[in-house]
């Protein structure tokens, strides 16, 4: 019976890898989403075009295919040989970032037109307009969907177990093959994943409250 403690440790080690993947993937996704989302509403046609291509490409193919492509095909081109962790973060970040970019675009376009007109009226530069007027109002609109995207990213991390990165799912498979017991490892990781996704949604609700704090009376 003492073995179970050892197996649980193994799974918890995997949980730590899953957490790291989620956090780094989310960070990359956020940066990419903002860049591509702003690119999508840019005045420069080339930027709009590049962003659209990026978004359609990563939303159009499966994350699974992207991960395998980054991990197995990219090294063959001689450009870069990512470690499993790097490949995982890159695939997750770029994939979820593409979904996030559409959210950023939608939120920016959802800011009422008179806000834009007011910016022009008081002669703000394009940067000032975005930084001080549009984005602070667009951010609360993005947050709920970003929360969902973060949970999707957490769930997608399970895929990296298939390129032999020892995340929670991979460790559960090891425990299964060593003990022949299926219920213990899988129920444990299902519960752990669920707790993590609850943490993300709770954290997001907190952020939403913070982000809307200064906006009373605007909406």
């Amino acid at each position: 019976m003492g073995d179970w403690a050892g197996y649980l440790t193994l799974i918890l080690q995997g949980a730590w890898v899953t957490v790291k993947l989620t956090v780094m993937g989310c960070a990359l996704a956020l940066v990419v989403a903002l860049i591509a989302g702003l690119g999508r509403v840019s005045h420069v046609a080339v930027l709009r075009w590049i962003s659209t291509c990026y978004i359609e490409f990563f939303r159009g193919t499966s994350i699974f295919v992207q991960l395998f492509w980054i991990y197995f095909v990219l090294p063959m081109t001689g450009l870069w040989s990512p470690t499993p962790m790097q490949a995982g973060v890159m695939a997750l970040g770029l994939n979820v970032g593409a979904y996030g970019a559409e959210v950023v675009r939608g939120a920016i376009l959802a800011v009422p037109k008179d806000q834009y007109e007011a910016c022009t009226a008081v002669n703000l530069t394009r940067y000032q307009k975005m930084r001080h007027i549009i984005l602070p109002q667009a951010l609360p609109l993005m947050l709920p969907t970003f929360g969902n995207n973060a949970i999707e990213l957490l769930k997608a991390t399970a895929v990296v177990s298939l390129i032999s990165l020892s995340d929670m799912t991979f460790q559960a498979q090891i425990v299964r093959s060593q003990t022949g017991n299926t219920i213990f490892p899988f129920v444990t990781i299902l519960i752990l994943y669920f707790i993590m996704s609850l943490l993300i949604s709770t954290g997001m609700r907190y952020l939403e409250r913070r982000a809307t704090r200064g906006l009373d009376g605007v909406r």
Binding site: R59, F64, V65, F72, Y193, F194
Partner: protein, 219 residues
């Protein structure tokens, strides 16, 4: 040269064979999801708190945990209870169950988007519950749901490569087995990506059309 056209052409029939399974799994999974999703949505509307709360928790749990782990769960644990499912069946059930939680939200949104006055008018016009649903509520609730459902259908299509983990011979499995026997990853992985991209791009046009046709009244 790292891209070999002859090899790419020679493996295309194998991949297309897998594509058939991919599409089959998507369609069957979507049917399961549409039916189960309606069941979840109805149970969640139940006036019995115990039923609605329990359903709510189950839906949240399924949605907060990775599909891959759920597939393993179905594929490896059910045999312990004497229920050995063929891989494709397990995959269809797993995908259907996972996406049913998303579909149930679509149903809920669609039903709630019907104005309260419509319910009251149906009552005032002395319609029985069946007439209310068939002639008043559903004709108004279903059109706004169609684009959202098509969207999830596309999402399911992109999740099918996960079935490779439970040995369903869909497109990604075919690509991996080709890659493992020939030691060439570039062509199979890239071709799978291209096939996904082509189908997704056409589907996106289809989606836009559906949104124009049905989405007008939603929001």
């Amino acid at each position: 040269m790292f891209w070999d056209w002859d090899f790419a052409i020679s493996i295309t029939p194998t991949l297309l064979q897998g594509l058939k399974i991919t599409i089959l799994a998507t369609v069957l999974g979507a049917i399961v999801a549409a039916v189960l999703g309606l069941v979840f949505a109805i149970l969640r509307r139940s006036t019995n708190r115990l039923i609605s709360r329990t359903t709510g928790f189950v839906v949240e749990f399924i949605r907060g945990t990775p599909l891959l782990v759920q597939l393993y769960f179905i594929f490896y644990i059910l045999p312990d209870f004497g229920l050995r499912l063929p891989p494709l069946t397990a995959g269809v059930i797993g995908m259907g169950l996972h996406y049913a939680t998303y579909f149930s939200e679509v149903y809920r949104g669609g039903i709630e988007s019907v104005a309260r006055g419509q319910w009251e008018a149906a009552r005032a016009g002395n319609l029985n519950p069946r007439q209310t649903w068939v002639h008043v509520i559903l004709p108004q609730a279903i059109p706004p749901m169609i684009p959202a459902m098509a969207n999830y259908l596309l999402a399911m299509f992109k999740e099918t490569p996960l079935l490779t983990a439970i040995t369903v011979m869909e497109m990604m499995s075919q690509a991996r087995s080709v890659a493992n026997t020939s030691y060439r990853y570039v062509e199979p992985m890239t071709l799978v990506g291209v096939f996904f991209l082509i189908i997704s791009i056409f589907s996106v046009f289809g989606l836009r059309w559906l949104e124009r046709k049905f989405g007008g009244r939603a929001r």
